[in-house]
């Protein structure tokens, strides 16, 4: 039935067969979900955060459940770019050849972000980079870059300088004016933006009088944050010209359509993958169903189509 529907959307030079991608850190590099999801049906696989050298991540406990959401302080644990290339990229090339791979890039410093990209430039199967300047779970770097216009622009420009591939910058919601940051990042050469990363939050164990997370604070995700995410996508879409990958609590096809209407060109599914490992496909089907019901023939026509 999707024959008469054009589901493709574009992020810079990159065309996605449909707008549904995976949210970094919630889908590993796809292998763990291959039992549940036909990876060839995804718009793209956005990998977990990859850093120049291996990162151990934070102490446990690393997650806590909250009302309609969860906190995490994983801290970008990853085996580093070399192991990523050898294991994850190789696996993806073999098992999901037709699906674009967007590598989420982590760093403690501008140099580290650049180092990861420079290393990956040699890899033909990487389609785009998503530079994470918004992780609330690492001390140095991480969110710090995402909360200041100048720092955000600096990282962006440095990454831009070393790649011609589609460059997406992932923004932090823990700021006063996300649209201002978005403008600086656009000016610095980003091809697209993804938002939102998690909201900085905390959960407390009243019985033990301790934070639930070993790190104390963590990133809030899930349906609880959807209203904040929709608002930010909408605000940013008013102010920039580059495409947006919207995310934050997306659980159903209708949620995804709301993000498209607010101005996102694509949507990422994160926490929902933990609740329903088939969430990405269910959501893609939901978008298709919505389009048929509303006589929409091009998903791209929904982008920013909200009447305010």
């Amino acid at each position: 039935m999707s024959l008469n529907l054009d589901s493709s959307v574009s992020i810079g030079a990159l065309t996605l067969r449909n707008p549904v991608v995976t949210a970094s850190g919630t889908f590993a590099s796809g292998r763990e979900f291959a039992d549940f999801v036909d990876l060839s049906r995804l718009g793209a696989v956005v990998t977990k955060g990859v850093s120049a050298v291996p990162w151990a991540g934070n102490a446990s406990p690393r997650i806590a459940e909250t009302s309609s959401g969860m906190l995490n302080s994983i801290g970008l644990q990853n085996p580093g770019v070399e192991a990523f290339v050898a294991k994850d990229l190789a696996w993806l090339a073999e098992n999901a050849p037709g699906t674009p791979v967007i590598v989420n890039v982590s760093g403690h410093s501008v140099a580290e972000y650049v180092a990861v990209i420079e290393r990956l430039e040699a890899e033909p199967t990487v389609s785009a980079y998503e530079v994470n300047i918004s992780c609330p779970n690492v001390d140095a770097g991480g969110m710090a870059f995402g909360t200041d216009c100048v720092a955000a622009a600096t990282v962006t420009a440095a990454c831009r300088a070393v790649t011609d591939r589609t460059l997406i910058v992932k923004l932090s919601p823990n700021v006063t004016d996300i649209a201002g940051i978005a403008e600086s990042v656009e000016a610095a050469g980003a091809d697209g933006l993804s938002l939102i990363n998690t909201l900085l939050g905390m959960a407390i164990d009243a019985e033990k009088r301790r934070p639930m997370l070993a790190r104390g604070v963590g990133g809030l995700s899930g349906p609880a944050i959807k209203p904040v995410a929709l608002r930010m996508v909408w605000q940013v879409a008013q102010r920039v010209g580059i495409p947006i990958v919207g995310m934050g609590g997306i659980t159903t096809g209708t949620d995804a359509v709301e993000f498209l209407l607010a101005g996102a060109s694509a949507v990422a599914v994160g926490t929902a993958n933990f609740v329903d490992p088939t969430a990405t496909i269910r959501i893609a089907d939901g978008i298709t169903e919505y389009c048929h019901r509303h006589g929409v023939t091009r998903v791209a026509d929904l982008v920013g189509a909200m009447e305010v």
């Binding site: 850190g25 919630t26 889908f27 590993a28 763990e32 979900f33 291959a34 039992d35 549940f36 999801v37 036909d38 990876l39 151990a56 991540g57 102490a59 446990s60 406990p61 690393r62 997650i63 806590a64 459940e65 009302s67 309609s68 959401g69 969860m70 995490n72 994983i74 644990q77 164990d205 033990k208 639930m212 070993a214 899930g222 349906p223 926490t271 993958n273 933990f274 609740v275 329903d276 490992p277 088939t278």
Partner: protein
């Protein structure tokens, strides 16, 4: 994605029975044909207890027993999710599971005598193991401990299939008074075992592991961690090992005791 026969899948379940077995502990029997036919002892399911609820994450539970088209879960009421599980009426078909998940207990072909050490709810993942080992004609000895006699959950199952069962309770209401480590050290002295399978509070597993390390038996432990995805993607369930960080959900929950770098902070706030 083709579901290779032994791969985990999402399966809708129906409640066949759900009854209290001790204070704050219940046994729920679920119709789950696919999972029941695939599960190996020590594996678990990631159960979606509630939909449209304020709690969104699944809850991991060991499979206590599996037969025909059914699985049994022995659960302790700890918080919101297990409380809702306890309230599920017979016939309820609103839950689904992801499973079977994880690496279960390893049972070498050479195995001839096994010691199962169960502390409290640690009996849960050992029930099916005891039954399957007995079916294979392997000698099973059980050391079980709990706060009180009533809390010796699955005791009947162990008595049924085990060659010998030694009990310990904190209040001495049955068996010797004190921790299960008492009977364990005695048993290790009296008999010889190929493998010791331990599950219970992590300090107890750690104590058992060190007792076994002096005997010449292999020791496997089943570890609990907070789990979001249950399938290896989120890294919320890390276990420190001598080979670095592993994931309890896919590399475990059963680990060889020698590889575990015991780290109390990794254990869930509850249990």
């Amino acid at each position: 994605m083709t579901h290779a026969a032994d791969k985990p899948a999402i399966e809708r379940v129906t409640v066949i029975a759900n009854d209290p077995v001790a204070a704050g502990v219940g046994l729920i029997v679920l119709s789950a044909p696919r999972c029941a036919s695939l599960v190996r002892p020590g594996q678990f399911v990631h159960l979606r207890v509630a939909t449209g609820a304020d709690i969104i994450l699944r809850r991991p539970f060991s499979i206590h027993r599996a037969y025909a088209d059914r699985i049994e879960i022995l659960y302790q009421i700890l918080g919101t999710g297990t409380l809702r599980l306890a309230e599920k009426p017979v016939g309820d078909d609103t839950m689904d599971l992801v499973g079977p998940l994880g690496q279960g207990w390893r049972t070498p072909d050479t195995l001839s005598h096994a010691l199962l050490v169960a502390g409290g709810l640690g009996a849960a993942p050992l029930g099916m193991l005891a039954e399957r080992l007995a079916e294979r004609g392997i000698a099973v000895t059980v050391a079980q401990g709990a706060p009180t006699a009533e809390r010796l959950v699955a005791r009947d199952l162990f008595e049924r299939v085990a060659r010998r069962v030694e009990l310990a309770t904190d209040d001495g209401s049955v068996g010797e008074q004190g921790f299960v480590t008492g009977p364990v050290s005695r048993l290790l002295a009296e008999e010889s075992f190929d493998v010791v399978y331990a599950c219970g509070p992590e300090p107890m597993q750690r104590a058992v592991a060190s007792l076994v390390s002096t005997a010449d038996a292999q020791c496997q432990v089943s570890l609990e961690r907070l789990m979001a995805c249950g399938i290896g993607a989120c890294l919320s369930c890390v276990v420190s090992t001598i080979d670095g960080q592993k994931r309890a959900c896919v590399d475990g929950p059963v680990f060889n005791a020698e590889e575990v770098v015991w780290n109390a902070s990794e254990t869930p706030p509850k249990h």
